[in-house]
Amino acid sequence: MRRIVSYMMFVCLLASMIGSSTLTFAASDIKVGIIDTYSGPPSSYGLDVLDGFKLALNKINANGGVLGKKITFVTRDDKFKVDLGLTEAKELIMRENVNLLLGTINSAVSLAVSDLAKKEKIPFIVTYGKSSNITGSKGHKFVFSMNENTEMIGKAAAIGLAKRPFVKYWIAGDDYEYGHAIADAVWNHLKKIKPDVKLVGQSWWKVGEPDFTPYITSILSAKPDAVIVATGGAGCIPFLKAAKNTGFNRKVAIYMHTATELSTLRPLGLDAPQGVIGTANYYFYYPETPENKVFVEEFKKAYSRYPSFGSLIGWYTANFIAKAYEKAGKVDPEKFADALSGMTIDSPIGKLTVRQFDNQLMLPMFMGVTKKVPGYDFLIATDIVTIPAEEIMPSIEDIKKARSQD
């Protein structure tokens, strides 16, 4: 028995080695390698991006592809781990010979792969990583960001919050890079716009904190006017839930980035607290443009659910890729990077431009307030204010300064 098992194992190993090295793909395709998190809590975002990407890609390929070639893609699951993501990126570049890389929600993986992309001269388009370092201090010719970053969130939040009457603030958030980056960005910009704001205190909880009640009760006893909550992805839902259960939202104003996003509100159903201020880059019900309606219809038809911001990212990323290859005229990494930098396309949320200086996509931000509205079995954002992209882009001087320090 033992003998059989060990033989079996060796055979499996050998087969997998040989099998994988003989795989070849049609050389005429443009091949995109996607690294993203498809297991664990962040995977719902990655899957949204992927679905949006597929939707746009199918259309592009049905219309004959780009430069007479079809765009194909392969995916790898990084399981939110940097070492895995790095190995997979190398595998995609060196073995699968992909033409460009796409990914990922984990900022650490994004930064690591970005460094690799720089060395290997392969374009890398970040889809959901939100660290401002990606296109900021660590930016380079081959890295692009299709998502809003922490700096942009901070500026948008500060502009929106400064218009409200709050003076005493409390900052609370996930105790990791993203939480602190958002909190710092919001606070620094808010202080600049409205110098009389006061910080009463801060609390930081570990990522994946299951129970927010102790934090909420301790914040309440300090009686701030408003709380800036800097949680990412998974933390938003339990926080809002605890906020509702403790009546937190009725005592203090809450601002939370992504609080009004579909990915946050949908799982909560009607359990979400009302009156929470949130920023987001996209709602399927806003802006009410014909382009958006068409996109929502197509997405719903294909996947029978509403598109989230992630789906939109996937959708316009695919369109950017197609248009950039068309402009480049051939499949060449340098030409592609040059073409994509500074490019503008139409999208459901208006014209979108990749800023030439840092390859950061210029995205408008929408600030809204959560509300129960008949017709939906979850809360949606109302009183939406648009903050234009020009006002929230990180300043070029700051980036230059940060890059020269490194």
């Binding site: 790898r76 940097v82 190398k90 595998e91 060196m94 690591a112 720089k118």
Partner: protein, 319 residues
């Protein structure tokens, strides 16, 4: 374990042949497989260093990855934040791991077996929390990327040769240590700590030294990791990674010297190759692990050894 003259020659020739084949690999293998080989060597070195404490020292080293991560972080931080000569950075980083191993070992060796492992696990988690939280210094959960390493040793084939040389030297050193009188005493302690104590062996001191040795070579592996990947991040010291290294030792054979290396080769290739086809490669790993525990508790090499010669190793009976 000491082989007689003839087989020693045989082993030496075999070893040299393997080395020559490995050294020629970058010339005919595709780039990705050269990289994968380097990764296997590093992981294997790491697993072997774990096995010094685990298989030969009999200590339940549950959180060995901490030393790996500290080695990687030390070299990255020195290269990024200081202007010290590169060679010095590479050389001193493993000592940081060794010092941590000394401190943690000092607290842990008072205990044995499961208690030892659990205490090490909690101390290791504390180190992890510090690294994860200290944004201004360690880069927090984003980690450190783009560590400046000269292209001579950071290109795919360059890093492979560097890894090959360093890991062969390290393996050689560990082999010598384990076959020295010190190593013999260590194995005697593993097999029977009480008896060793009564014949006048200072058990705790020996275990502490073993901790430092294991920590040092884990640090070497960490430095090599940075050379190959150019990054350091908190995942390198997560407890799940530690368990993966334990699995490698177990898979290859944790009472043999080269077992962990084989285990690392199997797991790293599996992870990379099965990961291409399915997101569920962890289930494949889990099933292999279960089969292993049921049918091959001595690991692949342990099994093959028992298969080729009569299982008459004396330590086997003592256990």
């Amino acid at each position: 374990m000491p082989p007689d003259g003839l087989s020693r020659l045989k082993w030496f020739t075999l070893g040299m042949a393997v080395l020559i084949v490995l050294a020629l690999c970058p010339q005919f293998l595709p780039r990705f497989f050269t990289y994968l080989l380097a990764l296997i060597l590093i992981t294997g070195l790491m697993a072997t260093s774990l096995n010094v404490a685990l298989g030969f020292g009999g200590m339940y080293q549950f959180h060995h990855a901490v030393f790996y991560g500290v080695g990687a972080y030390s070299v990255s931080l020195m290269l990024i934040k200081t202007n010290l000569p590169i060679a010095l950075c590479f050389f001193t980083a493993p000592f940081a791991s060794a010092v941590l191993a000394l401190v943690m070992g000092f607290i842990c060796v008072r205990l044995s077996k499961l208690y030892f492992g659990m205490l090490q696990l909690s101390l290791g988690s504390l180190v992890w929390v510090v690294v994860y939280r200290w944004y201004s210094f360690t880069g927090g959960d984003d980690g450190l990327h783009g560590v400046p390493i000269p292209s001579l040793i950071s290109s795919v084939s360059g890093s492979f040769y560097f890894t090959l040389i360093v890991s062969v030297v390290s393996l050689g050193l560990m082999y010598v240590i384990l076959n020295s009188p010190f190593g013999q005493i260590l194995q005697a302690i593993r097999d029977n700590p009480e008896r060793s104590e009564t014949i006048g062996v200072h058990v705790r001191a020996h275990q502490l030294v073993t901790q430092v040795i294991a920590g040092f070579f884990a640090g070497v592996a960490g430095v090599l990791f940075v050379t190959v990947e150019g990054s350091a991040f908190p995942d390198l010291m997560s407890w799940t990674l530690s368990l993966e290294f334990l699995i490698m030792c177990l898979l290859g054979g944790w009472f043999t010297f080269l077992g962990p290396m084989l285990g690392a080769a199997i797991i790293v290739s599996l992870r990379t190759m099965v990961g291409v086809y399915t997101e569920y490669w962890t289930t494949v790993l889990a099933i292999i692990l279960m089969l292993l525990i049921f049918f091959l508790p001595e690991g692949v090499i342990g099994y093959l050894e028992g298969f080729f010669k009569r299982p008459d190793v004396s330590t086997e009976e003592d256990r």
